[in-house]
Structure formats: C-alpha cells, structure tokens
C-alpha cells in the first residue's frame, strides 16, 4: 500500500503540528492577541445573523452584565457534550446578570451544512439551547478573539473587559465546570 505525499498541512491549533515524537506536549494556548488577552477590552460583536435574539446583540449594550461567549459548532462532539453545562449556567445565572452567547463558527465550507441557519436552529432545539447564538459564518468574531479550538470560552465582566479565556469539553459538576462556575459567580459579585 502506497502512502500519499502530503505537501502542505494547515492546522487550526498548532499544538499537534509542533509536537515531535517523544517530546512533551506543547502547551495549548488560545493565542490571545494584545486586544483579546485577559485584562483587555472585549472586541465588539458584529455578527448580523442571530437566533434566540430579537435583534443582533452588541457588547456595548450589555455593559453591566457578565457575558460568557461560547465558540462552538454543532458538528463538534466536544462542543455538544459541553452544552448541558452551559444550559445549566444560563438557567442558574441569567436572572442574576449573566448573558450567555453562543458564537457558532463552522469548521468546513458551506457544502457541509454548518452555515445553514435552519440546521443551526434544529441543533439549538435538539440541545435545549435558549440563549442567543450568532452565526459566525465568516469567522469574523472567531478571528477577532484569536480563537483556535472548538469549544472555546471567553468570560467578560460587567465593564466589558475580558477576564478569563479557555477551551475544551467539560461536564456538569466536573472540576472544569466548577472552575467556570466560580469564575461566573466571582464576576457577578463584582
């Protein structure tokens, strides 16, 4: 059996690309730019197409609320398995000042169906998601925040400042769930 010659490899997430045999895993980092590192102002959302929202949401109009952005796509198992945790946060904290926003960013070109608003609407219904979701089909918000992995998270305080960033699947009541839960409560208490 002949092995195919690979001429160019582009990875979304360079940890795999830079890891050599026998070497320790390269640390995963969300690649924050100067403007999206914790402590910096959160880039404004400019997406035009939204679900579970009467009009496009803008961070400027959400000052005074804590905002948790979840970068995800419905074809990603790591993302969908994290959704129950996010739904739990939304139920627990929406009335106390948390706004959870899904930033739905496709992996593949449109032929895969991830760009389709109807497909996303069905995924939201299937997952029981009632919080707003932006269609980030052109990756403008993904790029503005320097995101590399599905799922990723950005937690923004009441003043519009990025306070925490992270990535990776987690489940209700596991350690990562509790970390994000405590971060949300901390910012709600400020």
């Amino acid at each position: 059996m002949r092995i195919i010659v690979t001429t160019v490899v582009v990875l979304s997430g360079l940890a795999v690309a830079t890891r050599g045999p026998g070497r320790p895993a390269a640390p995963l980092a969300p690649r924050p730019s100067a403007s999206t590192a914790p402590g910096g102002p959160a880039p404004e959302l400019t997406n035009a197409s939204w679900l579970n929202a009467e009009r496009p949401l803008r961070l400027a109009a959400l000052r005074g609320r804590v905002v948790l952005l979840n970068f995800w796509v419905f074809t990603c198992g790591n993302c969908t398995r994290t959704v129950p945790s996010l739904v739990a946060y939304d139920r627990a904290y929406r009335d106390r000042g948390l706004t959870l926003i899904g930033i739905h960013t496709p992996e593949f070109p449109p032929y895969a169906g991830e760009h389709d608003k109807g497909n996303l609407a069905r995924a939201l219904a299937r997952q029981g998601i009632t919080y707003p979701n932006a269609q980030d089909n052109d990756r403008r918000t993904w790029d503005a925040y320097g995101i590399r992995y599905w799922p990723s998270f950005v937690l923004i305080d009441r003043r519009g400042t990025i306070r925490y960033t992270g990535y990776g699947e987690f489940h209700q009541d596991d350690a990562e769930f509790r970390i994000w839960d405590s971060r949300i409560q901390q910012l709600l208490g400020e």
Partner: protein, 110 residues
Amino acid sequence: MTGPWTWVLAALGAAACVATPPPVRLVAGPPLTLAAAPGVRINARLKPALELEGGTVLRFDSPHVTPDSAYFAAPPTVMPPTKTRRGTLRVSVCLPRERICRLVAMSVAW
C-alpha cells in the same frame, strides 16, 4: 530569492518538516483511506472532504461509528476520482485528552 533569506526559509522548512506529524494521513487505494494517528479521532458528524479542482467535493465515510455517532470507529474511505490525482483534504479531528476539535487542511496527491 537568494542570499541569507534563502537559508532562513530552508531552515524553517526543514524544521517544519521534522516537527509537523499530521494527525491523519491519506492511504492510496482504491479506495482512498484516511488513517488517524494514535489517539486521534476523526469527526464522523463532519465527514472528511476531498476537494478537487473545479469544485467537486468527495466525502469520506464509513458505516462504523462510535455509539454516540461522533467519531469513526473504522477508517473512512472514498473512491478516488478518475481524472485527477490531487486535491485538498479537509478533516475535523478530535483529541480526547485535550477535549477539543481541530480543523486539518492539507494538499494531497496520489
């Protein structure tokens, strides 16, 4: 381009070749088969694609998936096109330990 930049680019290229094992590779057929590196899972909800010149897209598939239908349980395959022998391979790969999905895109020839 000549001069010192040539050496810089050559060094960068060499380093990249040494330190960039792709998480998947394409194995000749027919059918063309996607083989994942150890520990790497191929996303079955977003079937891998082989994009050919002219806009044709072939999708890899396998009847064997994990119980939650999230990943392929056997290497996905596709019948190779008859007229072309190169294209762009696009695969969504997931790494259990890191609990994330990544996009891999690579130019391939067979």
